[in-house]
């Protein structure tokens, strides 16, 4: 009998872990669904959507520009030395633009927003939770998910593709700086290759990715803040800190996993 328990114990533990994981996924999916449903409920929350657009979108522009510029510059350098081995430096524009628009633009934009805005969202909602502000909303018959999450979803759905577009544009310019200004590729050839190789399908693929990433980032970051009080053995400020770290790590990993899945589907 004890031998049977010994043998089944790891299996039982695995089963419990899988069940817990599935339950969390289900809970997060319901959380997202609740938030999406209230995006369309009246009265419209224009002011809060604008506040979040400013916070997630406008305040991220500088970070996105700097990241995009240096990513493009690095791609220009690396691409030039790789292509020069095959005597194809003229294709640098294509390499930089396609890499940015299809892959790096959406992914790096999402990761930068997780670091800048996502972590702040988790911390803000988490502090609201532990200081009973979310309970206070409930007592006023204000739906906390509608109030806190729905405006963030709308703002993210608008901001992520726009910031990705800015990242791509600045990145292509960064590639031009190193490729043409530093290493001497004819600017006309560089931009001709950019224009010639990028198809509308590539741009749409990048935007589809950024829309998926926006939903993922907002769900993970808001969810961890909202349920920060349910963390075992980590209460108060420490709990909020752990929730923020977990949200950033999980959202970043999920962005990379979803990127792989979407790339394999959309290619």
């Amino acid at each position: 009998m004890s031998r049977a328990i010994f043998l089944t114990s790891p299996l039982a533990q695995l089963g419990r872990a899988v069940m817990t994981l599935l339950q969390r996924f289900g809970k997060a999916a319901l959380f997202l669904l609740h938030g999406i449903t209230h995006m369309f409920s009246r009265p419209w929350q224009w002011r809060r959507v604008l506040e979040q657009l400013y916070f997630i979108g406008a305040k991220s522009i500088v970070v996105i520009c700097v990241t995009g510029l240096f990513t493009g510059m690095v791609l220009g350098l690396q691409g030039y030395y790789t292509l020069s081995q095959f005597g194809s430096t003229g294709l640098l524009g294509s390499a930089v633009a396609l890499t940015l628009i299809r892959e790096l633009g959406p992914v790096l934009t999402a990761i930068m927003i997780i670091g800048r805005a996502g972590s702040a969202m988790t911390a803000e909602i988490g502090i609201m939770r532990i200081s009973e502000q979310i309970d206070a909303l409930k007592t006023m018959t204000i739906d906390p998910i509608r109030f806190l999450v729905s405006p963030r979803i709308i703002a993210a759905l608008i901001s992520f593709p726009l910031l990705t577009a800015i990242f791509d544009t600045v990145g292509i310019f960064g590639g031009y700086l190193t490729g043409s200004q530093l290493l001497g590729i004819n600017p006309a050839i560089y931009f001709y290759r950019v224009e010639n190789s990028v198809l509308m399908a590539d741009v749409i693929e990048g935007f589809i990715k950024s829309l998926f990433f926006s939903i993922t980032v907002i769900t993970v970051c808001c969810y961890h803040g909202y349920y920060t009080h349910t963390r075992r053995n980590n209460f108060g400020a420490k709990g909020v800190g752990f929730s923020t770290t977990t949200a950033v790590v999980q959202a970043s990993i999920l962005v990379l996993v979803i990127d792989y899945i979407l790339t394999s589907v959309l290619l």
């Binding site: 502090i127 609201m128 200081s131 009973e132 309970d135 206070a136 409930k138 006023m140 018959t141 204000i142």
Partner: protein
């Protein structure tokens, strides 16, 4: 027989194996102020949170007008909840909003009043609670007593039918404490709301309460008028009430 507005029927609640409420039976009647007294950590706030639905009982039921919340239709439940207001022990003010926005929020989100009407209501409450001039300040910039008064203004601004006060005067100076008690009593007479107060202000709170309930070791050991409480000769009640009086 008068049906209680709110009735606890054998309500029990435990947290991580610690029994906080143990088969509680309590009746709150319409238009009365019921004060719940008891030692710190006895579960008075837990009891209040059950009424407003922030916590659900492990067993037993809470009846509103003789029916449990789940027996009411969905819209009825929503309308019932709109009749409540709650003043939190630690104020629970929105720290990233100004004082004005904190008080105006329940009106903006859950009423059909226009901007001017909301402003008039907010300013009226702020004047009554002597916090006018702090409109553009944030809760973090206020003293503990001021934050209490902002929380009280927020609880009263919707003119609710049932107000739950969780230690509304803790941290206030004696003059303001008296003023808040008087204001609660005046409003109660004027608007006829039902109040449930958790308080340690013994015996001052008896002057504004029609009913007192004593919570001890997870159980309601007394329910009655302040006079009945004073005349109760059971050692636990007597020690509790007089112990407070002598301190």
């Amino acid at each position: 027989m008068n049906i209680p507005l709110i009735q606890f029927c054998n309500v029990s609640k435990a947290f991580d194996g610690t029994q906080v409420l143990n088969n509680i039976n309590l009746s709150v009647f319409k238009g009365e102020i019921t004060t719940i007294i008891g030692k710190s950590g006895e579960g008075k706030s837990v009891l209040l949170k059950h009424i407003i639905g922030l916590l659900t009982p492990d067993s037993g039921s809470i009846l509103f007008n003789g029916k449990s919340l789940s027996e009411h239709a969905k819209t009825e439940q929503h309308n019932l909840k709109k009749k409540f207001s709650y003043m939190f022990q630690d104020s629970a003010l929105f720290d990233s909003m100004t004082v004005y926005d904190n008080i105006a929020l329940p009106l903006r989100e859950a009423s059909k009043l226009n901007k001017i009407e909301i402003q008039q209501r907010v300013e009226k409450r702020m004047t009554q609670l002597d916090i006018l001039g702090t409109e553009q300040q944030y809760p973090g910039q206020l003293s503990g007593g001021m934050r209490k008064r902002v929380a009280l203004a927020r609880a009263l601004v919707t003119e609710p039918e049932i107000i739950l006060f969780d230690e509304p005067t803790t941290g206030l100076d004696p003059i303001r404490k008296k003023a808040v008690h008087k204001m609660i009593a005046d409003y109660q007479r004027k608007l006829g709301f039902t109040g449930i107060i958790v308080s340690h202000e013994i015996p001052e709170i008896f002057t504004i309460s029609q009913r007192i309930a004593v919570l001890n070791e997870g159980d309601i050991i007394f329910q009655g008028t302040p006079e009945q409480l004073n005349n109760d000769e059971s050692p636990v009640i007597s020690e509790f009430v007089h112990g407070h009086e002598s301190s």
